[in-house]
Amino acid sequence: MSSKGLKIAIVGGGLAGLAAAMKIAEAGHNVDLISVVPVKRSHSVCAQGGINGAVNTKGEGDSPAKHLDDTVYGGDFLANQPPVKRMTDMAPEIIYLFDRMGVPFSRTKEGLLDFRRFGGTLHHRTAFAGASTGQQLLYALDEQVRKYETLGTVTKYEGWEMLSLVLDDHQVCRGLIAMDLQSLELKAFKADAVIMATGGPGLIFGKSTNSMTCTGSAVSACYQHGARYANGEFIQVHPTSIPGEDKLRLMSESARGEGGRVWVPKNDGDKRDPKEIPEAERWYFLEEKYPAYGNLVPRDIATREIFQVCIDGHGVNSENQVYLDLTHIPAETLTRKLGAILEIYEMFVGDDPRHVPMRIFPGVHYSMGGLWVDFDQRTNIPGLLAAGECDYSIHGANRLGANSLVSCVYGGFVAAPAAIEYAANVERGETETNGIFDVELARQGELNQAVINSEGGENQYKLHEELGRVMTDNVTVVRYNDKLKATDDKLLELRERLKRISINDSNLWATQAIPHARQLGNMIELARVITLGALNRNESRGAHYKPEFPDRNDEEWLKTTIAEYADEAPVLSYKPVDVSLVEPRKRDYSKGKAKGN
């Protein structure tokens, strides 16, 4: 078998997908890059803070080993440590490579890369490009991949959505089926290996900080084909996001740092203008409950308290929002210290936070869980790999700030040679693969037709809202077993009702109704994995918090959750975590270490 000219299909054109595409094309192989949006518009653009790499340019004695320690500690020891070590070792190289690719990183007086301190570490380890590092890194890879596109080694399918894998009789991945989102044409992509790089599943929670493309649908399709899904229950929630009608947008925590006070009206549903509510009728619940730290309690506590206050019905206007009030600080001071982030608030909410208290609420931000992969980013399905947020491998139970970008690139850089190696050695039984693509094409066509024909009056967008609401209420910040059980019941109900939707678009050209209905079905399956994983895990660890089991329990639960698809319910099993490099210890940020981002 020739070692050149292999065909690798990559699904998703964010940082991880493009990183893999670049490496594969550079090695002289061909890539089909499938993405629901033009790859330059992928969700990676939203990452603001920076990219971590222990370069130790500030003479602080930083090292990849310390980066490893911070990462596994921040992740509450749920991550297998060898891949984390490999990532933290590779991180400085990754940053330097992006520097060579022309990312406009901020620089020092001497013209070298500048690094700043970020959450969860004491070192200046984060390289950054303005306030849009993710955008800048993505663009750099996009540019490199575009070069390979002009050379003909990379072929982009932008505006295509993956619907399913194509497995042969031996459960080996031979390619995939994707749909053109304009014509709804289905196409089989034959590939020697497939790399999933589709990002997170934030839309399962209705509104999140994720982009509208982050449905988790393609990953769910893989899971339903037999790919294992790991640690699904670990969903990171950012304490302060700006609730919008359409999505949640991040509000930097520096607003609290600069003296912002969090409160709700004492009278539930108080409709008055916040400025007219007298001091005595405001409940500064963080200051009351945590007199020592006040509004500066660690992030996870802030998240839980804000969340609980709203779930208990005390939110502003009885909605899921509390005030984050800066109006007691002179406007000029605010402009000087927080100008840029206040402008974001003003742009999307329309109120000037210098004069009107901001309304904020915790927002689903990142999924630590994802497709199970081995230390070379390979899933349990031969020929199927995964990289980036859609794999589970790096962040354990909680992700540190500025680690997501580096993990995406790392995932892509590891997946690419692993895919090549697999593809170069896989046995190609052409006779076996003949026909399987047609069978799967036909099946997907039928599924689309079923959506078109379905008549039952249910509204798919309302179902999605219901899904988001039940998941946000019960499977995010604070989790109770009875509510998790009820949530799964609700998910089963939604799954049934989804079969009775009537799509409201009679024009099938470029319709969004059919793709959305397909995504919704996949989202519900993944929601069950998240919910039942949470229900089963009777401890609190990282982002997973159960008041009934408030402590981390390493004896029973220092284990990776593995979910495997079955029609009635996901089958959960548990694998020990490789903690061979850093001895697990209690996670405690009250002394010395700052809490992660």
């Binding site: 033009p38 690719m101 406009p104 955008q135």
Partner: protein, 266 residues
């Protein structure tokens, strides 16, 4: 948005109970355009996207006719991906950062008009195909030629000033506002400010400079930089405040020196 500094931002004092969304509809590329108006309950937090989501959920026009849901593109909703660009009340912009309240206040009308960008193929309703913009990036060689992506140490040293100039250019999210507003763009006769600024982004990089001739060649073709009419709408409508005209004029200088008079240096 921040142009009013820390003066208190104006909001609608007496918001209406409902407002109207007038949307240009087109069934598919080449089909005739028509208008449909939808009436929606006003909410203070609405932006154009969430208003469209409301319509999509229940696509019934203001006069009670059941219709198809409007199709539009959206992704990040934070004005960094550029996909949701459309013409809102006659002006091209991202619809995610277009607040209903601001629009009603600015127009004094109860109706907000949505049209697709006019300079790109209109796939359906508000959705357009901007793939040409990505092709233009190929034309101007908008990347740095690497020896390889393996570990070769850090990149070239450069001042933070250059890095920040490059950052300003590199924020371009390929949204197409500059092209939509450019009176010279369209009919494939002018490559437009977006690609010129991206060429500039690499021409000022110490390693990127080495390929300046190829980038300038991409800009001195039939659709090249000479077709800029200096109307300067691009820099006015750019949501990322990219110094587009400066990039164009700096490139003009490079072309004057390298392309027009370069042969004299030999």
């Amino acid at each position: 948005m921040g142009e009013n500094g820390h003066n208190e931002k104006r909001r609608l004092n007496d918001p209406p109970r409902t407002f109207k969304l007038k949307i240009q509809r087109r069934e598919k590329e080449g089909a005739p355009a028509r208008w449909e108006t939808f009436e929606l309950p006003y909410r203070r937090n609405l932006n154009v996207i969430s208003a469209l989501m409301d319509v999509r959920k229940n696509p019934v026009t203001a006069d009670g006719t059941q219709t198809t849901p409007p199709v539009w593109d959206m992704s990040c909703l934070e004005q960094v991906c550029g996909i949701c660009t459309m013409v809102v009340d006659g002006r091209v912009r991202q619809s995610c950062s277009a607040l209903i309240d601001d629009l009603l206040l600015a127009s004094g009308s109860d109706t907000i008009t949505l049209e697709p960008m006019s300079k790109f193929p209109n796939i359906r309703d508000l959705k357009v195909d901007r793939s040409k913009m990505f092709d233009h990036l190929k034309q101007v060689h908008a990347w740095i030629e690497l020896d390889g992506s393996y570990n070769l140490g850090p990149g070239p040293q450069m001042s933070n000033e250059v890095a920040q100039d490059r950052y300003a250019l590199s924020r371009c999210m390929t949204c197409g506002c500059c092209l939509e507003a450019c009176p010279q763009y369209g009919d494939d006769k002018y490559i437009g400010p977006q690609a010129i600024a991206q060429a500039r982004l690499f021409n000022i990089h110490p390693a990127g400079k080495m390929d300046i001739d190829e980038r300038l060649a991409g800009l001195t073709g039939d659709d090249g930089i000479g077709n800029c009419g200096n109307a300067q709408n691009c820099v006015q409508v750019c949501p990322m405040n990219i110094p587009l005209t400066r990039a164009i004029y700096e490139t003009n200088r490079d072309i004057t020196v390298n392309t027009l008079f370069g042969w004299l240096k030999k």
